[in-house]
Chain length 297, copies 4
């Protein structure tokens, strides 16, 4: 049993915290939205009055926030930043998906305070968070990861150590960039087939066992009616939002520009998701990008 400060109780953070509570840990929870805190209290957590209040007695600090600026603010803000308030023996785990450069900056600042920190963004979505089957993609020291492992296994199934600080973020972006492209091209392929009179379900079944198989053909098929439980079959609601994918592709583009890398398909996909957002679909599942190329979907 660990004393865990859990900050950020959104769509992902809330079920992750719930799984930690189920595993028997003592959680002090904080979120800017009172209702999110209330829900976590119902699940067994103790409400903290502030992020600082949450961490002062913690063994483990876990954050799950929307973007780089929130993470930077949480830990490094001149007046309210957490680093001076976290106990020296505590371990810091940031599960947010943010810019690699920000992850490195925060980890370096944590080190100056004598704190061990890993970046541990996740893959698996809200369903994986609820089921406790997330994949953690970890950057930081191997020894720090070993300290974190007993906690991470309460929330996820797979843990990958991909390198030093920031590497977890880089790997997450590489995965999501590929995913964004794979989803969009699967939509292109299905739309092309349907335009030629093929049945999207039959075509998907074939592709799902052929060389074009992917999570997009098998799990989150973008064509309505192909997979009963996919967002596409319920009006593209739920799932991983178009604008979240857009954010990740933007982070990937920045990561590419920072090292002079070329990601022609990744950046084209970024623009496709941006156009889909502009068409009013930013809040739908990212598989709705198929709407750009398909009629009557």
């Amino acid at each position: 049993m660990s004393r865990i400060a859990f900050i950020g109780l959104g769509n992902m953070g809330a079920p992750m915290a719930a799984n930690l509570l189920k595993a028997g840990h003592a959680l002090r929870v904080f979120d800017l939205t009172p209702a999110a805190v209330d829900a976590a209290v119902v699940a067994g957590g103790v409400a903290a009055t502030s992020a600082i209040d949450a961490v002062v007695d913690a063994d483990i600090v876990i954050s799950m926030l929307p973007a780089s600026r929130h993470v930077e603010g949480l830990y490094l803000d001149a007046s309210s930043g957490l680093l001076p308030h976290i106990p020296a023996h505590a371990l810091v785990i940031d599960c947010s998906t943010i810019a690699p450069a920000t992850a490195r900056k925060v980890a370096e600042a944590a080190a100056k305070h004598g704190l061990a920190m890993i970046d541990a963004p996740v893959s698996g979505g809200t369903a994986g968070a609820a089921a406790g089957t997330l994949t953690f993609i970890v950057g930081g020291e191997a020894t720090t990861l070993e300290r974190a492992r007993p906690i991470l296994v309460n929330m996820g199934k797979n843990i990958f150590h991909v390198g030093s600080s920031g590497a977890g973020q880089v790997a997450k972006l590489c995965n999501n960039m590929a995913l964004g492209v794979i989803m969009a091209v699967t939509g292109e392929a299905l739309a092309l087939g349907v335009s030629h009179g093929l049945d999207a379900k039959v075509l998907s079944q074939m592709m799902a066992v052929s060389t074009a198989r992917s999570w997009a053909t098998e799990v989150c098929n973008p064509w309505p009616g192909v997979l009963e439980n996919a967002p596409a079959s319920r009006g593209y609601t739920g799932g991983f939002g178009n604008d979240l994918m857009l954010k990740d592709l933007g982070l990937a583009a920045e990561a590419a520009m920072s090292v002079g890398a070329s990601i022609p398909l990744g950046e084209l996909a970024r623009n496709l998701y941006a156009m889909n957002s502009r068409a009013g679909h930013g809040g739908l599942d990212f598989s709705s990008v198929v709407k750009l190329v398909a009629k009557d979907v």
Copy 2:
């Protein structure tokens, strides 16, 4: 045991014919390259002196040729076309990957001669052809496919019936278009990760069990050294050639234009493979497209 005419004994056709011979069928074989015929004779086939000579007594005619113009010439040529020479009871199976419009045209001409025909392009590559584990993607009448099935199972493991004449070609192109994009974006992702100091093997292993998983991460990884048996680990030799992918993406673009479809990622990938070809890599495995975006690969 069927009497089979097998025309086209290239990298794919030769092992397919060998598997039919192993299954006990009587094959009359033809290819424009005498050495290819000789090799098939060693495997147990009987050399035909011409394509017409191959088909005159056949129950089954199978063709496996490089491109639309070869298939159109083989069956429809005014002087040497096969259709008038194939026995009326015979079944025609074209396994070539060609334009859907050509497949429909040849099947319609065959029907006018009273011949049943299916388009049955394959997925699985030379390895699948040798192992008899190809996937057949079939367009044509269901009853015709049922007649063909006992033969197809001697060469492949999966058989998909995706629609009427030409639908097999459409589905094959949809699959290969998605594959071409998936391969190229996997290369982009690995190159981006490596540029940030990540290990391509560790990154690939993570992606292979995450949402970006694909045949490109698991079977034919484009980064040298990640998978021992992938073309990338042997100088991109063997495998499915860059220029064959370029051909398929061109067919996909034509299929898109013929129906007013949009395939932005598919056409960008077409250009990437064209640029890779222009850089002198047309004969390498298509995973060599990673060379466009990676240093020292």
Copy 3:
């Protein structure tokens, strides 16, 4: 004064024929739409009862048709093709924008009938056609062009001889492919500026005298209100239709594929115009492609 058969009296053909009539030539005119013929008769032409009827006494045959298949049908149709009916001394000028391969095929067939032919697609739009300021982009023999020149100057201002048969079409496609990309990127640039609070008119005025200057900044600006006479300022009506640009970009893609060329920007633009068409803007001026990337336009 020449006896001219003019076939195809659409948005472009009608004003071109009118200019020839103004210059004093005798025209026998034909179009599948009777109203188009009637209008040309009002302008001074003589109605022919068929295309064959139009050409039988002609010195010059001019065609201005929508697409490759129409031109191929007009000249080469087994029963109604014009070639056997055109007098041997006559000169054939096809002004349609079609596939280079079709242009070469028809010119070769014409040569077998002893007829001199050039492909002479135009640039300048309906405004240029009306004003007699078209640019002719000519493929064929130089001596044939010299025979055509006295006629062409009645319809246009510039005449470029770019090569042998089909070269006129290739050059036209090269120009229009670049134009399609330039228009779309000008839209991207203006939308980006406006998103940052700039005034589209001021930004356009700056670009129009800077290194990004183009016909899209100076003549057919895609942003409403920047240029009073541009289609964008009248709801994108009139001008050169989105679907005509889409057609030309498709021809450019086919021309690229036929020689293994790479046109990454050209093919991406093709898909942008295809998406704009799918969004219901196929009949608007092609500058409406800006709608894909701009809010409230």
Copy 4:
């Protein structure tokens, strides 16, 4: 006659400073490269020992630096930043091409020191700088621009006021993004034409007076031999470097991402220039991007 501090004497800054000296102004010059300072002294300037030394008595401060971080460091560095050292009556003109956000940040900081500042990036290249024919694209207060105008006219021909602080940078990026795409697609068009047997010079001449006309067809044609004075005709040396265009397209991408804008062609072009850089052509003129798509160029 004004007392001008001129900081940054590179390929652009040196000839700009020379033109100010020719116009009779007194310049105190500074650059981190002593040889650059020496050359400016030969032209009539006075060497400053530091940037601070240059500005202490200045009426006008002009900076021309490579990138955002240099400008931010020059003015805002905690220990050596210029703002506290510039006389209150002085006018600050930054001619560097940098991120709009950085331009706004520096201008706001200047305002807190009571200093008037404009961002005035230029168009026209080293040739325009030498000839005194640059275009200035200005963001800031109109009254500040009027104070700057008498100085700017000594270095340039056109002055555009495009909006408030940062707007000059936005407009410059919009222009250069469009330019980068126009250059690359002009290369695609010429390569396509040449692949079909056309002469690049004849094709360029036609395009230069047609709807695809641009600075890339008329002034800096990317095909060797078409324009005698273009970089392409001297091995792509001189001109505007590929990696400078790559930098500007990166700034455009960041500007797009910061407001959720879509620039599909702009970002694809960014990747083309990145691939050209990776092929070893980063130091060549940006028109060398044609090498990606052209054989034997």
